[in-house]
């Protein structure tokens, strides 16, 4: 008989080991899934997890890792504050879209002026846009006690409609011969978020993601605000006793996640994506939720998890084109990763005991 026994204190060793174990289990069960789909499991797993880094075309994929990983890390860092405080912003995708729209709007408004100030202004506008979008669920929660999970999630769909309206109407490229989509910001030097070193994939969004990781690390471990965030999540009553104002905490946490998601949207629209288009968003805001938990809401963990998630994205695309693996199988693999992580998480707080006989 298998029994679970609560550990007197959470195991530190397992806290580090569980993400690795989850990755291994995902590889194992993912491999079985691919075998059932008629693919060679070893080859598929190698393609997804190793080819982006070590194949002969790795020179092309490695920069992509930064390009795909940066928005995930940036958004996930923002989300981690709220998640640690027990504030569940599920609508980062919407804040990402609105941030992109606001930032791009500033850039487009200045077109074709040549001013170095434009790009910083766009970044600020992106952050403000994301923050304001996140304030909607925040203020509704504080004033009327609505559930921020539902409101923030539903606002994603509102944001998608807003995006479509911008791409087809307000922001449509006047020189675009009627095609949907805005002017390409990547081709407008004052507004472009270009690679800082050619061919490296390193753009301002990557820099921002690294800064966010360091900032979050210091805030959470050293600053009183980080301590209050943790108090709010682990003991809401104790947090109030310690002097935390829960409403302010809700607004600040939603504000941080909104601002970072909005900035991520701006960096994407001004760089890799280039323009506001109907299909601009590709789910970074949702995947970042997985990244945040995969990284155990710890800044360094999120950095690693963002890299891993970007890897499965890129590896998944390679597997799709080279091996003909269906796209849904890759999504399943990513889902599996989160599933196994949450499952093996149990080992941090419990130990498994195998019992042979019945005790009297």
């Amino acid at each position: 008989m298998i029994q679970l026994e609560k550990r007197p204190e959470p195991s530190r060793a397992w806290a580090f080991a569980t993400p690795l174990l989850a990755v291994l289990l995902t590889m194992l069960f993912g491999g079985m899934l691919f075998a059932l789909l008629g693919k060679n499991p070893v080859e598929t797993i190698r393609t997804i997890f190793l080819d982006p880094l070590f194949s002969e075309f790795a020179w092309y994929y490695r920069p992509q890792l930064l390009v795909k990983g940066a928005p995930l890390v940036l958004i996930a860092i923002g989300l981690s504050f709220g998640f640690r405080a027990g504030i569940w912003n599920i609508g980062a995708e919407g804040q990402y879209i609105v941030g992109a729209i606001c930032g791009a709007g500033v850039g487009l408004a200045f077109y074709p002026m040549d001013l170095r100030l434009i790009f910083p202004l766009m970044v600020i506008a992106g952050a403000i846009g994301g923050t304001l979008w996140a304030m909607i669920p925040g203020l509704l929660r504080v004033k009327f006690g609505t559930n921020e999970i539902l409101v923030s999630l539903m606002l994603v769909y509102v944001a998608e409609q807003l995006l479509a309206s911008m791409a087809l109407g307000t922001m449509r490229n006047p020189d675009g011969m009627g095609f949907p989509g805005s002017r390409n910001l990547a081709q407008y030097p004052s507004a472009a978020n270009l690679e800082l070193i050619a061919g490296s994939g390193m753009h301002w969004g990557v820099v921002a993601a690294f800064i966010a990781v360091i900032f979050a690390y210091i805030t959470l471990s050293r600053h009183i605000f980080g301590f209050q965030v943790r108090l709010s999540g682990q003991g809401p009553r104790a947090a109030v006793f310690a002097g935390v104002n829960p409403n302010r905490m809700i607004l600040i946490c939603l504000g941080i996640s909104g601002a970072l998601a909005g900035m991520a949207g701006l960096f994407e629209v001004a760089g890799p994506a280039g323009q506001i288009s109907i299909d601009f968003n590709v789910g970074y805001g949702f995947t970042a939720i997985i990244v945040a938990f995969l990284g155990r809401l710890h800044p360094i963990g999120i950095l690693l998890a963002g890299g891993l998630m970007a890897l499965t994205y890129i590896g998944g695309e390679i597997a799709q084109s080279n091996l003909g693996l269906p796209g849904a199988a890759i999504q399943l693999l990513q889902g599996m990763l989160l599933f196994f992580l949450l499952a093996v998480d149990l080992l941090t707080n419990y130990r498994i005991k195998f019992k042979t006989g019945e005790a009297v």
């Binding site: 204190e9 600053h223 006793f241 310690a242 009297v360």
Partner: protein, 502 residues
């Protein structure tokens, strides 16, 4: 012949032996006391009898048959019922609904209501089956639990610390019910550390210490002191009170009024009091009469009108907790886990929880963790908190040790006003004595102390003045030295029915 016989029962948890070779018998119709400090192994023992814990070795026989309940359901089927210290009731449902929730095959509601009326009348425990549980007093809630058990016509009724939430009058009603049950042949296993109660009620007592039976006695002929020393294994220290002159007024509440913070909370209605430096002001009352709200209004978790609370003459009703700490008021709420401390955080982090303001643990917003650690170590040393290290989580400490830490953390911030709620709830006798002594010492050093408690003996031991909190209203304060326990009971009782069993 005995109803239940326990032989050589042993149960070990990782790192601790909860019960070691425990043997005793309970006779039919006997009221048997199980006596011991917190952590002596009483809970584990009764959990084994109730099927919640599987013993490692040892045997139990019920009416001559081997008794090995795999789960509480099996124990109930065999005729063992238990009333827990913490009630498992849903506030938003009525009495009959709550009772039917605990049944395997509940009969229709009106039938249950009828049975509840009948049983409650029969045993002198007045209870209306249509009342919403959230509106009941703690004593009435306990009746719901007792009646839930009585409907099963148990052979053995286990009661875990049943009187901790009752007024003296309610205790008397409960005792009459239990005596009546015993006279009808039901055996009762009565768990408590209140010696006078056991002397008044029980026929036989088994004393546990550190998981082992250290003695048996007839409580009717054994003195409370002898039993206490058996239980603790040493001579008890009685807190010493020092005479001191009273200073200026440190805390003033003027017509403190606040609506109930949540559906089942209690509104505060015009609480007025004055506490001077060097004075200990005791506030008694049955749980749920506004104690939590009072602490929240004092600590700053609940804001009121500015002038309703004055700390050292300074209006403070609008101030947040840390602003109040800055002008000298510290508080220790009742609930240790999740309110006064966070179980998953280390003692260092739990130190920073309240001590940041007064001990300057933050510099430009950055927490100085080494200073917090030093202060945590100081608390652990001064208050003899038993823990492997200050890095241990608060949740890994026993209740008594965590309480010493919480009270120590506030006292060592050297407050001018200290508010504590249930300072020794669920704490073993020696830790309780240490905590009370610390409160007396703090007052002797010139702080004003407000002790809110449901333990009247405790209040009598430490307070200079006493008042009772009843439905959010505070009675007129009385000099504690001249009060009798009956007078206090009447001050507390007020709104609660004082019917006595027929």
């Amino acid at each position: 012949m005995s109803l239940i016989s326990i032989q050589g029962l042993t149960k070990a948890y990782p790192g601790v032996v909860a019960n070691k070779n425990v043997s005793f018998d309970i006779g039919r119709g006997e009221i048997h006391a199980l006596l011991g400090e917190n952590g002596a192994g009483k809970s584990t023992l009764v959990k084994a009898i109730y099927g919640l814990v599987k013993p490692d070795s040892g045997t139990m026989t019920l009416e001559g048959e081997p008794f090995t309940p795999a789960e509480p359901r099996a124990a109930r089927a065999a005729g063992v019922a238990m009333v827990f210290q913490h009630f498992s009731l849903f506030d938003a449902m009525n009495v009959a609904e709550n009772i039917s929730l605990g049944m395997e095959n509940p009969p229709p509601q009106n039938e249950i209501a009828e049975q509840v009326r009948k049983v409650s009348h029969q045993y002198g425990l007045p209870l209306d089956p249509d009342m919403i549980v959230g509106d009941l007093s703690a004593g009435e809630r306990q009746r719901v639990e007792i009646i839930r058990c009585l409907l099963q016509s148990p052979k053995l009724l286990i009661m875990d610390e049943p009187t901790s939430v009752l007024t003296p009058q309610e205790v008397e009603i409960l005792f009459q019910t239990l005596r009546k049950l015993a006279a009808e042949g039901t055996s009762i296993l009565y768990i408590s550390h209140k010696l006078e109660e056991i002397r008044a009620l029980c026929d036989h007592a088994t004393v546990l210490r550190l998981g082992q039976v250290v003695g048996e006695c007839d409580p009717k002929t054994t003195s409370a002191r002898e039993m206490a020393e058996m239980m603790v294994g040493m001579v008890l220290h009685v807190p010493a009170r020092r005479e001191k002159p009273l200073g200026d007024v440190a805390l003033t509440l003027t017509n403190l009024t606040a609506p109930a913070p949540h559906q089942f909370g209690t509104a505060l209605r015009g609480v007025t009091l004055e506490v001077r430096k060097g004075e200990i002001f005791g506030i008694g009352g049955v749980a749920g009469n506004g104690q939590d709200e009072m602490v929240a209004a004092l600590s700053g978790e609940m804001r009121t009108q500015t002038d309703m609370v004055k700390i050292a003459g300074q209006p403070a009703g609008h101030l947040a907790p840390n602003a109040r700490r800055a002008i000298g008021l510290c508080a220790a709420p009742e609930e240790r886990n999740g309110h006064a401390a966070i179980p998953d955080m280390s003692l260092i982090e739990n130190t920073a929880l309240t001590a940041t303001t007064r001990k300057n643990l933050a510099n430009n917003g950055f927490v100085q963790w080494d200073k917090a650690r030093d202060f945590a170590k100081e608390i652990i040393r001064t208050f003899d908190v038993r823990t492997p290290s200050e890095r241990s989580t608060a949740g890994s400490l026993s209740g008594g040790n965590l309480q010493k830490f919480v009270i120590g953390r506030e006292i060592m911030q050297d407050p001018d006003v200290l508010v504590v709620n249930q300072p020794t709830w669920g704490v073993d006798a020696s830790a309780a004595a240490a905590i009370r002594q610390a409160l007396l010492d703090l007052a002797a050093q010139g702080a004003a102390v407000v002790v809110i408690s449901q333990d009247l003996d405790e209040l009598m031991e430490v307070s200079d003045r006493f008042a009772a909190l009843n439905d959010g209203k505070l009675s007129a304060p009385r000099d504690a030295a001249t009060l009798t326990i009956e007078e206090i009971g009447l001050m507390l009782g007020g709104a609660h029915d004082l019917e006595v069993a027929q």
